[in-house]
């Protein structure tokens, strides 16, 4: 048996809400799995479709855009 599957998720987090929410989750010690890696953006509207397509094409198991 190999290791259990651990998805790689790219997260685009808006600095003002989702990223701030992530900070607050930290302050509140809310535990969640470490699979998502956050790219901080100044607004979720900044996330070019090309970034999402390329992320998936290059091997991401999922992309989260939060804002």
């Amino acid at each position: 048996m190999g290791q259990s599957f651990e998805p790689v998720i790219v997260g685009f987090l808006c600095n003002w809400c989702a990223y701030a929410g992530g900070d607050l989750a930290g302050v509140s010690r809310i535990q969640y799995p470490p699979n998502m890696k956050a790219v901080r953006v100044m607004c979720s509207g900044m996330v070019h479709p090309e970034l999402i397509v390329k992320a998936l094409a290059r091997g991401a198991d999922g992309v989260l855009v939060m804002g």
């Binding site: 989750a25 010690r29 996330v47 290059r58």
Partner: protein
Amino acid sequence: MVECGRHLNIEIHTLSEITEVAGSVGNYTVTVKQKPRFVDMDKCIACGLCAEKCPKKVADEFNMGISKRKAVYIQYGQTVPLKYAIDDSSCLYFQKGKCRACEKFCPTGAINFEDVETTKTILTGAVILSPGHVPFNPGKYDYTGYGRIPDVVTSMEYERMLSAGGPLMGHLAKPSDNQEPLSIAWLQCVGSRSISRHDRSYCSSVCCMYAIKQCLVTADHLPSHATQTVFYMDIRSHGKNFDRYYEDAAEKGVRFIRERPHTFDPGPNGSGVSITWMDKDGGKRTELFDMAVMSVGMEPPSDAEKLSKIAAIDLDQWGFARTDSFSPSQSSRKGICIGGSFSGPMAIPRSVTQASSAACKVSMELASAKGTLTKERTYPEERDVDQGEPRIGVFVCSCGMNIAGVVDVKAVAEYAKTLPDVVFVENNLFTCSTDTQVIIGGKVKELNLNRVVIAACTPRTHEPLFQETLKDAGLNGYLMEMANIRNHNAWVHKNTPEMATQKAKDQVRMAVAKVALASSLRSQSVPVTQKALVIGGGLSGMTAALGFSELGYDTVLIEKSDQLGGNAHYLEKTADGQTLRPALEQMIADVENNARITVMKKATLAEAKGSVGNFTGLIQTEENARTDVSFGVAVVATGGRETKPSEYMYGSDPGVFTHLEFDAFTAGKSDAVLKAECVAFIQCVGSRNKERPYCSRVCCTHTVKKAIALKEMDPEKQVFVFYRDIRTYGVFETWYHKARQLGVIFIQYDSDTKPDVRREDAKIVVTATDPILQQPVAIYADYLVLASAIESSGISGLSQLFKFSVDEDGFINEAHPKLRPVDMSVDGLFVAGLCHYPKPVDESIAQAMAAVSRAGVLLAKTEMKLNPITSFVTDRCDGCALCVDVCPYHAIRLVEYQGHASMQKRIETDTALCKGCGICAATCPKGGVQVHGFTLDQLMAQVDAVLKAS
């Protein structure tokens, strides 16, 4: 704290006490006695070796004695300045003559046993006293068992037990046997709201909310079958959004019992505590709890009296600094102001507001000397590094144990060394400490680093600090990237340390990839219009306008109605009992006669444009005249209004009033009122319900004071108050006490047992179930006064104009509810008074002064730097104009220019309007417009770095 420590115009003297304050406003000489630290601040690098080697352990006061610290110590990980100190009262060398272990091990030779006490004098124009408060010590109380039963703790001790960074690392354990407690009881009002010998007669205002917070945090820490029970008299969740929090706790299963337990006994085998109280039906009930938490109140600091003598200021009857409703931060001595809870029990937002109002008062006193002694930060010229190869330095923070307790920071640092372009890596205990900034700057210069990665906490709070450090070292601040391995990692992946370490490596790799592509960014400057606009002419607005004028700024004050003063016209007295009218009239005259203030009545703001430092607007008056106005900042003080009830026969029965109506009705002491035999009040009418799930904050005190006035008019008059919780917070509690002493009868009801009201001939009959008698009671009243809810007024149009945010209850949102309580969500706008939340006169005035103080920081500058994170146009733009319409800030225009052969089109962006949201960048199919600091290449590099697993 860090910002304070780094501020050029703030000098910090630690271990210091003032011993004399001579002189007068504008010219004080303060004598300061500084105790020896025995550690040379210039040499200490806070490595902690001294504390590691020190053999002497003493109870750690920061952790309420739950853990031990050494005789050489820092109080907590983030202390400013981060320098160790020797406590000579426990140090073995000072007490017994030998040891000096720390001296041997200190790598920098910072220990100095010869250090002595020094005295200095400081020349200053004004003084702000903010010594805060101390928690009540229930040791004096024998009946709660504190000190006798091990599992009875104070809320302060419990707070440390709950803290993830505290002595138990957040793993709750009973002091008696270290087992996890599964049933915990809180006892409210310990030391507060009681006139027995050791207690304080006021309400400490904060303990209900912190107890509820502790319940909810506890529920998160413990298994779901664990229970939380709160024994209380009234739940005082009178702050903004507090009632929601309380309702939420009740819904989540926290048990609230409105009883005062009378007996506390140790549980079986000395573990736990058995609590006995009298039930509603008169029966005795005993329950065993694993732990009991005493919600202790606030007391003035133990040396308040000494301090008051030194500063020659008056204290009130409880030992808090005496202030005045109309000047809430002014002490009895001119030029000495009070910040925070030294002026009375209050929670964080009010303390911060109060402290800002003290800063405002001081600036007003010293306005003539403004700017004469301030220092400005200057930076060395920036090195031009954009062209060269990246040379990246990575600093990995342990954050004490905050990060290092979960993430293997050493492994992360080792890993960072293997990344491309990284030439230097270091792990620091606290990367944000002042000393580490010196180290970072030194490394930048020594190794010629041209990019820096800080793997630590969140850029949302710490980016400015590290940017400064780079600038001090001659690098552009934007050549730095943070990897958030604390908030987004160590704190949230506690149970999977290996995966957390892996993620931290990924985060560092992403930051390195991004920063390698970073380029220097420069901010543009725009001139600041040094004028203020104040919207709303109530007490808050007038206070703000007068404040600005004293600081030397011209102000336009617009008032919708035909008179200044707002709600204050209808109030008889302030909450602390002062008559309002003379002060109000004086204030109106001061505003109207002030050469710097332009008052516009029957006026509203019809248009607003621009941004912080540079707003323009159009004021419309009733006669349809329109006036242009330009301003650098605005204070929104549009106030509130008493709502008209829709129940209890209001509007259909002439004997039913609202507060303000009844005040007006009784103002002339009409015969009718004199003759009335019985007056009833119903509280929370329209507040704390589905429609308005908030507490209107002032109505309980208003009712209690009116009830007293009626009793004083004629002690035979019967006065009844139907209430849910009486929320006479802080020193207003003494009015409640007085009302009960005078014979006012208080009858409690719940949201589902509201009183019934009907008319029977000459009387209004109010019926309800008395919870003490457990029987229905009927009151025959001549008048019924409804404590109706307070709503904000006049903000919906403004919020559209300025695009500021308003909460679900219709009150203006602050930028941060605790730490930035007067800043609004839009830069350059500030809020004061009832439009922020219902509050009494003194709090409205303090908030208005705080707004002036905060706005004054912006107005003091003749020019302001714009955020350089904005869009820019690249060569690839071909003028397709797809982005023009999507920009929400209208910052993009299409322009024509002369190309090689023909006229060409491309876009132009306006940096002052652009907010850097990047919607344009995501819309452009060609990369023709990008955002500085977040270019497509940089974001793509981060994505690639995620996928390139290490």
